[in-house]
Amino acid sequence: CSRLHNRPTISPTLLLSNMYQRPDAGAIPGQDPNMSQMDPRKVQEHFEDFYEDIFEELSKYGELESLNVCDNLADHMVGNVYVQFREEEEAAAALNALTGRFYAGRPIIVEFSPVTDFREATCR
């Protein structure tokens, strides 16, 4: 995205950038890069495994209000995970705990996000 986004110093919402990688996107070594040849049930299973991993890990730091995963194939926001905690302090604890760690062989990039209402969330 070429827009200048506001990056708050504290927020109940965290953005984990490009964390979800679709198995049919061709970005994961050993996975089938051809979407038409990938069983949709396997794609769904892969997503559910990812979602459970994220939910279980993030739940250690506080009560989750919302957990959204972008599973689009276009470049914009691809694989972004937005997690909204009930309290800002819980989000801060999660940010501290996740910084410097890896998921599926890739570093976790985490920051606070200004998004608090996902129904109104647009890139502006």
Partner: protein
């Protein structure tokens, strides 16, 4: 959704790429043994208490 499959699957968390430096996590912070006496601030060994 089957919980059996979930229980057999390893989480993707802390799956580092080959050769990546080990990063300390919240669970790897060393905790002093309970039996070890910790020096008090401003006190030196051999000083009368």
């Amino acid at each position: 959704r089957s919980r059996d499959r979930r229980s057999k699957r390893a989480s993707g968390f802390d799956m580092a790429p080959p050769g990546a430096p080990l990063m300390p996590t919240a669970t790897s912070v060393p905790v002093p043994f309970s039996g070890v006496q910790q020096p008090m601030p401003g006190m030196f060994a051999g000083m009368p208490m």
